[in-house]
Symmetry: C2
Subunit: 326 residues, 2 copies
DNA sequence: TTGTACGCGTTATCAC
DNA sequence: GTGATAACGCGTACAA
């Protein structure tokens, strides 16, 4: 890879002139412009972004911190962030924390040291590292952070309520919720909304980890100890596990049992029967978070508001159509 | 963030001494070492990695190029690469190309300009950009590249054969394969292996895109035009679509129809009935690719060999147990 | 054992 | 219009 100095030499001008041509700043005669352009093409010169970063204190890098990209909720989010970043000339560094505070801190230190221009954080802790004290702009995604940090989530409370109303309207009378870890505020809201509308129809409320295996256990536990005909799961993965356990036990869906998930990931369409779910606008959430972050990076003052996007029920085949209501 | 100069001042030594302490190189008296360490802690000094990169010509960055992180095969791969990279002090930059040659080239140019230390490429083209001519080490993952580039794939040919043998042994007599885009060599091998063993039992061989919607169409097409009782799908997503279409048409699995997928992604366990599949060691593939790349980066000479990992059949419920064989 | 000074590749600020 | 040159922060000869 050639340097600006080599280009300058080849074009018989100084490095300053080359720089001016590259950045279209300041005056430069048509003649030397041509010469420089020619040399650039010939040598396939591209400015060394490391050197540029050092001077400008801007790396063009964004850190994206997720618990685990393997959890099917995150790839879409990551994709949205990457797309938006790419559009604005940023690259994305991917970090998996496994929800470990220690790993998250390490990553953040490391990213700071390499002078990333901003951070998008999607992991969920109850305790918070002082993100406010970070020198780089931060946006929280699918997570509420205290302090002056912009946040993007979906309206889980509303989603929980919608799920309950829908089940009730479709003839379910005994409602249960399989929540995620309730120490996560975004998750707890889903359950709260559901329980509020479910009211006296609520027969069970249990928790499950996010991964499939754990959710299988949770579903089995639920079926062993309670009887219900309408279940709201706090994630589509948990819902998929519930559907599978029901199938194993010969419980027919949606006749004997209706199930609603939460997320709207593609998985929902892939299982049989396809899953009714409360869909978050995942891609838009990622896009918005990236957009907010980039605006902050570029200096636009952004209110540290909480953006709560609306969710929407996608009716598929784990619930009864309202007009077929029993 | 403080600089080495500030640390030097605080410790009443020169920057050289600080550097020596940081990198544990050269002699430094116990006394100044203490002082420096003290100052480092006090100022929370971490060397600016941009400046360090500029000097050392080593960025600690690895580029990971995938078609689409949203395709459920890639998150696991990405996770493995990131884990291994992290263990060795590298960070991973994620790039989605959508299989567009143009985007891939842009990304590579960009990554080169930011002086990434290496590249892992997982996209599949028939035409090849001259990766050999790149100045940075490259490793191909799930893809065969011509030239002196190390490659990691799974043994698709063997996998295809295993699928056919298994179906035959479980009583299937009319075999079909739903392949992926056959211009991808790694995919074509799966089909070739299958067809070889299927022999005269092969009744249909069609292609499908990788995404679920397209696979749904392909499966419908297959059922409309052919009759078969054993299907091998070139990916688990395609298999999931096949299972779903079969369910819609009232074809019982595995009694009337047996299905085997390829990949071994978690999705396979989540659908009903759980999918029998030819599992690639996805995580190990990512790990190996990253390991090879890092070795090359660190200067260990690595043979540009093709690593072909063995696949394994995971028997779940879309096939009949051999001992129940009809 | 320690400090000074230079180079890494770029951009911006001056003079000319 | 254009060309030296001083930063940016770090690591390392080389001199002390």
């Amino acid at each position: 890879m050639s340097t600006i100095r080599e280009v300058a030499k080849a074009a018989y001008v100084s490095v300053a002139t080359v720089s001016r041509v590259m950045n279209e700043k300041g005056y430069v005669s048509e003649k030397s412009r041509k010469a420089v352009l020619q040399a650039i093409k010939q040598l396939d010169y591209r400015p060394n972004r490391v050197a540029r970063s050092l001077f400008q204190k801007r790396s063009g890098l964004i850190g994206l911190i997720v618990p685990d990209i393997t959890n099917p909720f995150f790839p879409q989010l990551a994709r949205a962030v990457e797309d938006m970043a790419h559009q604005h000339g940023f690259q994305v560094i991917l970090c998996n924390t496994d929800e470990q505070f220690q790993k998250e801190r390490e990553y953040i230190k490391s990213l700071e040291a390499m002078h990333v221009d901003g951070l998008i954080i999607t992991t969920n802790y109850s305790n918070n590292p002082n993100y406010e004290e970070l020198e780089v702009p931060v946006v929280a995604l699918d997570r509420v952070l205290q302090g002056a940090i912009p946040t993007v989530t979906s309206n889980g409370y509303e989603g929980g309520k919608k799920a309950a109303s829908f089940l009730l309207a479709s003839g379910a009378t005994e409602l249960a919720v399989i929540s995620g870890p309730s120490k996560l505020p975004t998750i707890k809201k889903r359950r709260d909304g559901f329980e509020e509308v479910a009211g006296t129809h609520l027969v069970a409320s249990i928790e499950s980890p996010f991964h499939f295996q754990g959710a299988l256990d949770a579903a089995n536990y639920l079926f062993d100890h309670y009887h219900c005909n309408g279940i709201f799961a706090a994630s589509d993965v948990i819902a998929a596990a519930t559907v599978q356990v029901a199938a194993e036990r010969g419980i027919t869906i949606p006749d004997e049992l209706q199930v609603i998930g939460y997320d709207g990931i593609e998985l929902g369409q892939m299982i049989s029967p396809p899953l009714t779910t409360i869909a978050q606008p995942i891609y838009q959430m990622g896009e918005l978070a990236a957009k907010l972050l980039i605006q902050r990076i570029e200096g636009t003052p952004i209110a540290a508001v909480h953006h709560e996007l609306t969710v929407e029920i996608i009716e598929r085949e784990t619930t009864k159509r309202k007009d077929e209501e029993a």
